[in-house]
Amino acid sequence: MKRTHIIALVFVAVLIASLTVMLGKGFSRYENFESAYAKQGKEFTVVGYMNKEKGVTYKPQINPNQFSIYVKDDEGVEKLVVVNKAVPRDIEKSEKIVVTGKMNGDTFVANDILLKCPSKYKNREMEVNQGKSI
């Protein structure tokens, strides 16, 4: 074995070891609210959608860096989600929401939120009125 081969093998070993460690514990996982509820205080990523009837509670005059919404996860469980960020634009239009954070009692406290907005052409009712016909 040449020296370079040994070094390359050491690199591969370090890489595999560190990835195993990372996958083992360092990462959050996609969960639903129920399983997050069972493991209070542990970090999770939950995918769901916003209950638009209940709307967004945002009182920027009091705290511009916090808002709350109700999110229903894929299993249909709905929880109050408090997000420690300013309200992202277009949250009302979002069709899917990904929140990362922890369960604190019955509330999910998120420090990150990602919106998936519908592809533009699904919003077509709006456009239909503007069409011309000859």
């Binding site: 996609y30 511009p64 309200v87 420090n111």
Partner: protein, 805 residues
């Protein structure tokens, strides 16, 4: 298919679609001919016949690609919204230069751009590739066949092959209006995503896609070398091509960083977004490949590594287009494309290159065992050894990034539920900063080693001066900018070491011979760039920290999450050394400009400097309003201001607001309000009412509130007065805060009280201000890095020309 609706302009679409088919057939013909020419290469006459056919087909291909581009630009420019792509990505009010951005803002358009660049590079190869023409162009034309197939938009045995840029709205969408009125044509498009309406978006995508296309060429040479079993002659022509790919892809990535820095509201040069990562990883691998190629050229070592790296770089480009175009990143990235149902086709494209390349490599390495490799060890004192180690670190860095980016793919395949760490940026930084430091360290000393063997003592002697100098500079920087993190300082030290050592090498050994100093120059640039990157991003200072005491809940430090601050019109707020005031707004077309005045204060609070920034919101009722930041640029720092949100009236102009809220509380509870709060400290059963004569039977219950604002605190007492059977609330007002509190109901059973809070608020904005120190060092370093690569390209081209003559 032959319905012609009245008022539709079908010509461009028909011609465009026809050209796509021509383009596909021509590339297929060219590929087969080049393949056969390579196959029959020992029979000159046959090979030449095939080459001649292949060239003609390729010319037809190029001409039709240009024709497609012209048709495509025409439908965008003429606002023909009957075409789905135009309707989705453009609108009537889109300025001319952004019509180019619209062209490549969607999947079909960006694929077309990629095909266009491939055909241009292929055209250059027709003249330049000489003996390598048929194998290399076989690979390039195969890429063209597969990429063009993504534009076909036809169904074969029920599978959709590709998606045409000329598809019509009425053919692709099932909108009820077509049943009532088949002649319906949309009057306007949905418009280009406002964040793409930026001048960087006019040049970033074409550069990036030229970089993508350029990465095909080194891989094509590598595969050709394995195919022809000619392991020496490919080195010279591939060297400038690989440097070209490195240069252009690097420029494209940096332009993307500049765009993200200037236009996106993340306020960052590099956010480790999956889409960004997907373009960085092939660049890292290409950089590793260029280094091992140098080792092979001069010493005969690292040929296997070079093959793997060049081919992988290309495969990673294909993989990155799979990531961004298949929709697989849906939950992980803010700017991936939606799924057009072509994931399967994208996988086929990757396999079409992976399988033959892997077969050739394994066959030549393990079965035929004919790839030349040296049996004696590289010496520790040789340059080739350290080049190889450097390449390994590049690879290590690339693997870390691509594995993390591929989580959604891993989840799909293994049915796992892994999510990336929530603080993904710091995770990447924690690992990549060390790797960048080690690479910079290597870049500092490797050039001082000679190929084969060198005098180590002499090398160390030369390096003492830059080493000591970089330590001193690092200490000075750490002290003056308060950099405490070990990894930050380590990277700064290594980066300075790289910059200084290479400068010394340039003058001491190369004696300032610019023609051969491209490598040193790019290493200097890399060092400076890393210093600028680390300081500007690592020491960025969020000025707009919200200082109002609110409980943010557990697990979050205030600093992390309180980055937005609320400013009322004409009420100054101090942020760092600035006094910041929102002084008003103005409207121009679809833009609302918010005028934010910054007054720089000295220690005695005297104003030393005043400037006004104009962050704006671009109104867009179809896609949502988009904030456009405004930046104060100085030589030493950038002050970046962006509107997170502002309450707007129906017409889009900023609105006043009145907050009215009822709280039910007990003694000891707190009610938060804007810039103040009250604590219910007790209940006074016999309250005194100022300026009011109480009658004996009156019952006056007072809520004793402690009013707390930033600069003061005092007691207030709203009263609930009962006279006979009539109850009245007498509010307590605090004029300065435009707020009043009323006790409107008493709930004796629960021992609770209902309090109505009314607050009139001025117009306000919620904004974020970040200071990036020494960002210009980053731009300077990037420029030097790219310039160094450009110098190397000219040097290698010149060498190749001299060798021929």
């Amino acid at each position: 298919m032959n319905i012609h609706a009245i008022g539709e302009n079908m010509l461009y679409g028909k011609v465009g679609h026809f050209l796509i088919i021509i383009c596909f057939v021509a590339s297929l013909t060219s590929f087969i001919s080049y393949f056969l020419a390579t196959f029959f290469r020992n029979d000159k006459a046959t090979a030449n016949a095939w080459i001649s056919l292949a060239r003609k087909a390729f010319i037809v291909h190029i001409v039709s690609v240009i024709g497609i581009v012209v048709c495509f630009l025409s439908i965008i420019h003429q606002h023909l919204f009957e075409y789905k792509y135009v309707w989705e990505h453009s609108s009537r009010d889109l300025p001319g230069y952004y019509q180019f951005s619209a062209m490549w803002s969607g999947q079909e358009g960006s694929t077309l751009l990629w095909i266009f660049w491939h055909s241009i590079l292929g055209f250059v190869l027709l003249f330049k590739a000489k003996d390598w023409e048929s194998p290399v162009l076989s690979i390039v034309t195969l890429a063209q066949v597969l990429l063009t197939s993504m534009l076909l938009g036809i169904y074969v045995f029920g599978y959709k092959i590709g998606s045409s840029p000329f598809a019509l709205v009425r053919d692709t969408m099932d909108i009820p209006i077509f049943k009532m009125n088949p002649n319906w044509v949309p009057d306007d498009g949905t418009g280009l995503n406002p964040s793409l309406q930026n001048y960087w978006m006019v040049i970033h995508p074409p550069t990036l896609f030229l970089g993508y296309a350029a990465c095909t060429i080194p891989a094509a040479y590598a595969i050709s070398s394995l195919w022809l079993k000619n392991y020496t002659d490919w080195v010279k022509p591939v060297l400038p091509w690989s440097l070209f790919a490195l240069l252009i892809l690097g420029t494209g990535i940096l332009l993307g960083g500049a765009w993200a820095y200037e236009a996106l509201s993340f306020g960052g040069f590099w956010a480790w977004d999956p889409v960004e990562n997907a373009s960085l990883v092939p660049w890292l691998i290409m950089a590793a490949g260029v280094h091992t190629l140098m080792a092979y050229k001069h010493s005969g070592y690292s040929l296997h590594a070079t093959f793997i790296l060049f081919i992988s770089s290309f495969l990673l480009i294909l993989y990155s287009s799979f990531l961004t175009k298949s929709g697989v990143l849906g939950d992980a990235s803010v700017h991936s494309f939606t799924d057009l149902g072509m994931s399967g086709q994208l996988v086929v494209i990757i396999l079409a290159f992976l399988i033959p390349a892997a077969y050739l490599f394994i066959d030549r390495t393990f079965i035929k065992k004919e790839i030349p490799s040296k049996h004696e060890e590289e010496k520790l004192s040789s340059r080739e050894f350290w080049l190889f180690i450097g390449a390994l670190i590049f690879v290590f860095s690339a693997i870390h990034i691509i594995v993390l980016t591929s989580f959604p793919v891993i989840n799909k395949i293994l049915h796992t539920k892994l999510a990336p760490p929530s603080d993904i940026k710091s995770h990447y930084n924690n690992v990549q900063i060390w790797l960048a430091a080690v690479i910079a360290f290597g870049a500092a000393f490797t050039q001082f080693f000679k190929y084969k063997k060198s005098d180590v003592k002499k090398v160390i002697k030369s390096l003492i001066l830059p080493f000591v100098a970089s330590i001193i500079i690092t200490v000075l920087i750490a002290v003056s900018l308060h950099i405490k993190r070990l990894d930050f300082n380590f990277l700064v030290a290594c980066a300075w070491f790289a910059a200084i050592a290479n400068t010394q090498y340039l003058f001491q050994y190369l004696k300032g011979k610019w023609k051969i100093s491209g490598g040193s120059v790019s290493h200097i640039g890399f060092g400076i760039m890393m210093v600028g990157l680390l300081i500007s991003q690592g020491k960025q200072e969020v000025l707009s920290i919200n200082k109002f005491g609110i409980d943010y809940g557990t697990g979050f430090s205030d600093k992390e999450i309180a980055e937005n601050v609320l400013l009322y019109q004409n009420e100054p707020t101090e942020m760092g050394k600035y006094r910041v005031t929102y002084i008003g707004d103005s409207t121009s077309g679809k833009n609302i400009y918010f005028n934010v005045r910054y007054e720089e204060l000295d220690k005695h609070k005297n104003i030393v400097n005043t400037f006004i920034l104009h962050p704006n919101i671009l109104l867009n009722n179809k896609m949502g309003n988009n904030p456009v930041p405004s930046t104060r640029k100085t030589i030493t720092s950038d002050l970046y201001t962006h509107i997170t949100s502002a309450p707007l009236k129906e017409d889009g102009s900023p609105a006043d607001s009145i907050v009215q809220e009822t709280y039910t509380i007990s003694v000891g509870d707190t009610i938060p309000a804007s810039r103040c709060m009250v604590v219910l400290e007790g209940i006074n059963p016999d309250a005194h009412i100022h300026g009011f004569e109480k009658q004996p039977k009156d019952i006056a219950i007072g809520a004793q509130f402690k009013f707390i604002s930033l600069d003061t605190s005092f007691y207030i007492e709203p009263v609930y007065l009962i006279r006979e059977v009539v109850a009245t609330s007498i509010p307590a007002k605090v004029d300065k805060n435009h707020i009043s509190f009323s006790l409107i109901k008493i709930l004796p059973e629960e021992n609770k009280f209902q309090i109505l809070v009314e607050q009139k608020l001025n117009k306000f904005i919620i904004m974020k201000a970040i200071k990036f120190p020494y960002i210009n060092v980053l731009w300077l370093g990037s420029f030097i890095l790219l310039f160094g690569i450009l110098m190397s390209i000219f040097r290698r081209k010149k060498e190749n020309q001299l060798a021929k003559n």
